[in-house]
Amino acid sequence: MISRLTAITLNTFREAVRDRVLYNLILFVLLLVASAPLFGQISIGMERLILVNVGLSSISLFGVIIAIFIGIGLVSKEIEKKTLYTILSRPVRRWEFIVGKYLGLIMTLVVNTALMTAGFYIALLVTKGLHKTDALLLVAIYFTVLQFLIVTALTVLFSTFSSPIFSAIFAFALFVIGTFAEDLKNFAAISKGAAKLLATAAAYLMPNFASLNVIAQTAHDQGVGGRLILFNTLYAMLYSASAVAAAVLIFERRNLK
């Protein structure tokens, strides 16, 4: 089972690399490093802050876009190319296919993020030099990776029953809603009766991306507590595991004939 999962994971990663997904990294690093010296000229006393905000926001946005655009083709592409039938005719179970694909996408995104992070730190080095507090930014990047876990799981879930375009729309819509998850929770807190029940249910059902965004906080050199890191990690893992479990349940019942 492990070897089958590893094989699917590595193949998904190789396929993404072959799709030139990582080309965006060159663009990202080039843009960031090239524009870094400009930040000093367009703003007074804020060059580091602007660079941090632009860099971290770009890592997040690039990652989410890649997660959605690779994830949506997960099942449909395999059906279109008829490779899915070849895979499933071997001793590979459907859940292994989904979980393996998911892990492959995560691997792609982690490598992608690691390289973008390297580029980002090079830009910081070029602009103002590195300081101790710059290590705090790694927490923001780690939380961004946790966001990718959830976005990818949701994209995989939608791709098991919907067309690529609708999967992209659904996943992106959930990303936007999740960004305002705490507003939804506050709305639930002040509602009454049936509206309160519905809003509370929706608030817990929607992913919470708000608590996974600490870009502004870390950009201002404010630390993030260890317990928050722990519970955010657990939350992202459990939420993405739920979404992948739901994807498996749908895919197990799907008629592929």
């Binding site: 507003d183 817990y204 519970f231 479990a245 349940l249």
Partner: protein, 296 residues
């Protein structure tokens, strides 16, 4: 049970367990982050105008979200009887930068800001700045002048500025005639209780929001109780002058012909006669603006 069914059952159980886990984790995350953490983002924002540029044309939607956040923040702080409302003005400023025509945010936001703590933020100067911004953006909306005059009168005790605001508002086409009357009263009898009664009556009659009506009603009741208490204390003084002692109960004053019957507050409850000859209401919670008006 075949393998497929086993996998389906297993993943169904996992789905439920994992999802239950997310609910628990999320509660923990919310506890750790605190309720105001999303709102505190405003402290990191350079200005509402830059937020507007980043909103990609959806500034009205974003303004609605920020307005909702401001209301929730105010409600939360107000329920806690908080003495500090640090994030209120930044939230309102960003809301009105995002949508300068969101009248409700000027009207209610300025009231949230101007009222003294714990009912409000106790920042009348910022309330004035917010309404003046609203007037600059919406010069034809006369009610904002009314709000401005109201804040000058009630929270800043600047009767001249209040009179000017009412007067300027009365010149806006469509303004109701009592704006002129209000301007005149402010100029001549700014400190009179009758002016306050007139003002709150106007708020009560013209507002369609039930909460504003309720607040106006409470102010009117407090003002009327204040008027009654002042008259009753004068009669107690008279009783003392006549008899040389203070009355121990209302019946003493009724027998002395100084009261026609048991004095009742606007709610119909009997007033309290205290041993030192002062008068108070039985339930101060019903007249939460009473002390403030008495100290005027």
């Amino acid at each position: 049970m075949n393998r497929n069914r086993l996998a389906t059952s297993l993943f169904a159980v996992l789905l439920v367990l994992f999802f239950a886990g997310t609910v628990l984790c999320r509660s923990q995350v919310e506890k750790l982050r605190g309720k105001e953490v999303t709102l505190e983002e405003v402290l990191y924002m350079p200005s509402g105008k830059s937020v507007k540029r980043l909103s990609l044309g959806y500034s009205s939607l974003l303004a609605d979200i920020y307005w909702t956040r401001a209301v929730q923040y105010f409600g939360e702080k107000s329920n806690q009887r908080s003495m500090r409302y640090d994030l209120l003005y930044p939230l309102l400023d960003i809301t009105t930068d995002l949508d300068p025509h969101l009248i409700v945010s000027y009207e209610f936001g300025s009231l949230f800001l101007s009222q003294p703590p714990p009912e409000g933020a106790g920042q009348p100067e910022k309330a004035v700045a917010l309404v003046e911004k609203g007037i600059r953006e919406n010069p034809s909306y006369w009610r904002l002048y009314f709000t401005l005059g109201f804040i000058h009168y009630l929270d800043r005790r600047d009767y001249k500025a209040a009179s000017e605001a009412f007067f300027k508002g009365s010149e806006v086409p469509g303004a109701l005639p009592w704006m002129k009357v209000m301007a005149a009263r402010m100029a001549e009898h700014g400190e009179d209780r009758s002016t306050a009664l007139y003002l709150w009556k106007a708020v009560y009659d013209t507002s369609i929001d039930p909460q504003v009506k309720d607040t106006a009603m409470q102010h009117l009741a407090s003002l009327r109780a204040e008027q009654d208490i002042e008259q009753l204390e004068q009669r107690v003084k008279l009783y003392r002058e006549r008899t040389g002692v203070l009355p121990s109960r209302w019946l003493d004053m009724i027998r002395a012909g100084l009261l026609p019957g048991l004095p009742q507050d606007p709610d119909g409850t009997e007033y309290k006669l205290l041993p030192d000859g002062t008068v108070d209401v039985q339930d101060p919670a019903k007249y939460r603006f009473l002390d403030r008006n008495r100290n005027k």
